[in-house]
Amino acid sequence: MSNQQPILQLRGISKSFGFVQAVKNVNWEVYPGEVHALVGDNGAGKSTLIKMICGALLPDSGEILVKGANARIAEPVDAFRLGIAPVYQDLALVEGRDVVMNMFLGDELTHGPFNLFLDHKRMAIETQRVLDEIHSRIPNVREYVRRLSGGQRQAVAVGRALIRGGEVIIMDEPTAALGVEQTREVLNLIETLRSRGKTVIFISHNILQVLQVTNRISVMFHGEMVGTRKTSETNEDEIVGMIVGTKRDVLAAQE
């Protein structure tokens, strides 16, 4: 995998809030088509790091490369344009609107004179197509999101990322608030995304889930990237040790 070009590469990324250094000189590589876990304790800097990749925060220093090219991500829109599509923890869905309008939220299809009018029909068809693609079980695309289950909402959020041409799908704690059945739905969804050649960054606290679905696992501790492991070559003990800070990569520490 290492002879491939990373789809996403961070070099020396740092971010401070006042005196608190939330992210310290992070180097990180994510390769195309992999499911890559980002784990760490609360406050380890995962969310801050992800927000910088998604354009919700600006790094103090360092650079982000997308497909080898230097990328400037100042706004969420910039990230979308580069194919980086976050699926936020609170999902960022609008409950009082239907699945279709949520799929195209902020990016609605239009037609008619001056592209003035919404193309409700084409949006519904596209929505159905994407939902079928990720094997979602939403019976009616005109259903209000308010009435969907947690797993179905996750599917809508991921569907939106795909509709926007997302290549790197960032899922922030997608199973945190879900029951057993819905968690399985989301893990299946991740499998589907991998089989479709998408890159998934999977942020989670649940080590067992991470070991189950990912290709590689990166661990953050106190704002530093302490190491990356191939999922097939590691185990729960090692990852937990890295999370709580008892084990760390000598190499990463020196960098």
Partner: protein
């Protein structure tokens, strides 16, 4: 497994009950309006005459037009309480420009539109840049507009003697008075904008979940700004109609034909617009305006004391708030 089956069954039953309740909350107004018409047709003399129907529509037009803009702002999750200030300033500006400065009518209307945009910008500046809660910010800007209007009019009502303004109001294209045309046009445009344009989709999204809308790349601040400008424009339009009818500038915006913010609130809430934003349909608000107007008209025709109407209006306001609260819990 059996447990989850019963749970699902129970869920489905509460689902059905909720759906029924929601259906009732969404449609009771249509039924009530029809029943009210039938009732008055039998009990109120002259209720179903052409003249009375037109009168009722005309008398509902001003509150109705203001409610249209007010509704659009409410849908973004913002409350615009600057109605009376905008009414007063637009009316005085109209009278000053048209009567005292001798500006031709079309140019007066155009300049009023510019003034409306500015008024909307003032309120949106306070809400967006000043981060002041919208109800408070617009009460403040309303006060400023009122003060400006009193200053401009030197504390007097300005009588309009040039005839074009009132003549324009008394035109009847296709036999229907201008104010009714304007009323229906406002709602038609509002309906198309809210349901069939990106701006409409963004208005609903902003009101329903501000941060989600922002994260999705919707320019939420601009959406709120545009909504406030639309509301200021419709309110000014209503003010011009009221001014034309009275042939006088509206002092403090509360003379006959002026707009009462409580009436606008009542109509919007009866129509099912949520105070939290993002929920409701503008066409239902038109029905709510007509409902209130029909109720007032029928009671008058039946010879009921005005006090009764005032009490009923108060009750309708409280009832509308209660219905909104019930809906929010669904």
């Amino acid at each position: 497994m059996a447990n989850s089956d019963t749970l699902e069954y129970r869920n489905r039953r509460t689902d059905d009950a909720q759906r029924l309740l929601r259906l009732a909350l969404d449609n009771w107004l249509y039924a009530a309006t029809i029943l009210l018409c039938i009732f008055f047709a039998f009990r109120a003399p002259n209720f179903l005459t052409v003249d009375n129907v037109i009168n009722t529509l005309v008398s509902s037009s001003i509150t109705g037009i203001v409610t249209a803009g007010f509704t659009i702002v409410l849908l973004t999750g913002t409350i615009d309480a600057s109605t009376s200030g905008i009414t007063a300033l637009a009316s005085v500006l109209c009278a000053v420009m048209f009567q005292q400065w001798g500006v031709p009518l079309p140019l007066t209307l155009l300049l009023l539109m510019v003034a409306s945009i500015l008024m909307g910008l003032v309120s949106s500046f306070l809400i967006i840049e000043g981060r002041i809660y919208s109800l408070i910010a617009t009460l403040g800007s309303s006060g400023v507009f009122l003060g400006l209007s009193v200053g401009l009019a030197a504390g007097q009502q300005i009588a309009i003697t040039k005839p074009e303004l009132q003549n324009a109001l008394f035109e009847r294209p296709l036999g229907i008075p201008v104010s009714i045309w304007v009323l229906f046009l406002c709602y038609l445009l509002g309906y198309v904008m809210l349901n069939h344009t990106r701006l409409g989709a963004h208005i609903y999204a902003t009101g329903s979940n501000y941060s989600a809308a922002r994260l999705s790349g919707i320019p939420v601040k601009r959406v709120i700004r545009i909504a406030l400008i639309i509301a200021a424009t419709t309110t000014s339009l209503a003010a011009v109609l009221a001014t034309a009818r009275a042939n006088l500038s509206l002092l403090y915006g509360v003379t006959i034909g002026g707009v009462n913010l409580a009436d606008v609130f009542t109509a919007a809430l009866l129509g099912g617009i949520s105070l939290r934003g993002g929920v409701g349909k503008i066409e239902r608000n038109l029905v709510a305006v007509l409902f209130l107007s029909i109720l007032s008209n029928g009671l008058q025709l039946m010879g009921t004391a005005p006090a009764v109407w005032l009490v009923i209006k108060g009750l309708a306001f409280v009832g509308a708030v209660i219905i909104d609260a019930v809906r929010q819990r669904l």
